[in-house]
């Protein structure tokens, strides 16, 4: 997978060097082009080699999901912040972790923290639980389920 990514980058740089135009769109185009070429080349090969090509779309969809969540929740909070009354029901919830890799935990907690209303307090030392502060805690189990099916699932998909 790493090899393919590096290959993709190499292709991109060759493209840029060939065209001699140093700007974003050209880099981006070179990357896409390289990706496409590689994708063509690995078609029909073993699962291991295809992994890279599954990742990229997933990463993009993850990013879009993240931005969507972030905007949605931001508006929610904004409403609460601006209006005089508080609608909040805050609480600190223990979230049982499925992911066990440090990187994954980091990614997950970053995502959770950056979407409004929720905030990572800490990770337990045995990496089994995440303590999350939530502004709108209507139903604890519902909240845990949302994350499980939202961010955590996507992260697991992306990294495994």
């Amino acid at each position: 997978m790493t090899r393919q990514f590096l290959m993709n980058l190499l292709l991109m740089f060759i493209w840029v060097a060939l065209t001699g135009t140093f700007n974003y769109s050209n880099f981006f185009f070179g990357f896409l082009l390289g990706y496409f070429i590689l994708w063509l080349l690995v078609k029909g090969e073993s699962y291991e080699n295809k992994k890279y090509f599954n990742r990229v779309p997933k990463a993009i969809s993850f990013l879009l999901y993240f931005i969507y969540e972030m905007l949605k929740a931001n508006l929610h909070v904004a409403y609460d912040v601006i209006t005089p009354n508080y609608f909040m029901k805050p609480g600190i919830v223990k979230y049982p972790l499925e992911v066990d890799n440090d990187w994954q935990i980091n990614l997950l907690s970053s995502c959770i923290s950056l979407t409004p209303g929720t905030l990572i307090m800490d990770v337990s030392h045995d990496k089994k639980a995440l303590y999350i502060h939530n502004m709108y805690l209507k139903d604890k189990d519902e909240f845990i389920k949302n994350i499980k099916h939202g961010f955590e699932r996507r992260i697991l998909e992306l990294t495994r």
Binding site: D102, W103, I105, S109, I120, D122, V123, H125, K127
Partner: protein, 137 residues
């Protein structure tokens, strides 16, 4: 402070910061930046590491006590300052290599001077912070 999240975060933050510090160092002659700020940023990177791990581990990462960077930095700056003496020029006179080098631009004694500043600032900042941290335990 033991934070798994911070520890993981430093893995990717430190290289970014070091890269940024070199960038700031090299372009100082053309755009805002320079050895001083560059050095500070680099030391912030190591300070982060020490927060996330421990001072001892950071020193192990650096392989030497940062104190040893102080004379190194001084020597680099000193040499680039007195080098013109040997060419019969006044001290500090800028000596320049005629052809510009890509990315960095013109290479000259001023750049080495700034490099010395960079090294020294890392050395001093880390020396101070680490010595205090170690003595606080």
């Amino acid at each position: 402070m033991y934070s798994r999240i911070l520890k993981t975060a430093t893995y990717y933050l430190i290289p970014v910061l070091l890269l940024f510090s070199v960038f700031i160092l090299l372009r100082g002659h053309y755009k805002p930046g320079g050895g001083f700020v560059g050095g500070l940023i680099a030391s912030i990177a190591f300070v982060m590491h020490s927060f996330a791990n421990s001072v001892e581990k950071t020193i192990r990462l650096l392989r030497h006590h940062p104190f040893k960077l102080i004379p190194v930095g001084l020597i680099v700056s000193f040499v680039s300052a007195v080098a013109p003496l040997f060419l019969g020029q006044p001290v500090m006179t800028g000596l320049w290599y005629n052809e510009p080098v890509p990315i960095i631009g013109m290479i000259g004694s001023a750049l080495f001077f700034d490099l010395g500043v960079y090294i020294l600032v890392i050395g001093v900042t880390l020396t101070i912070l680490f010595t205090i941290s170690q003595s606080t335990k």
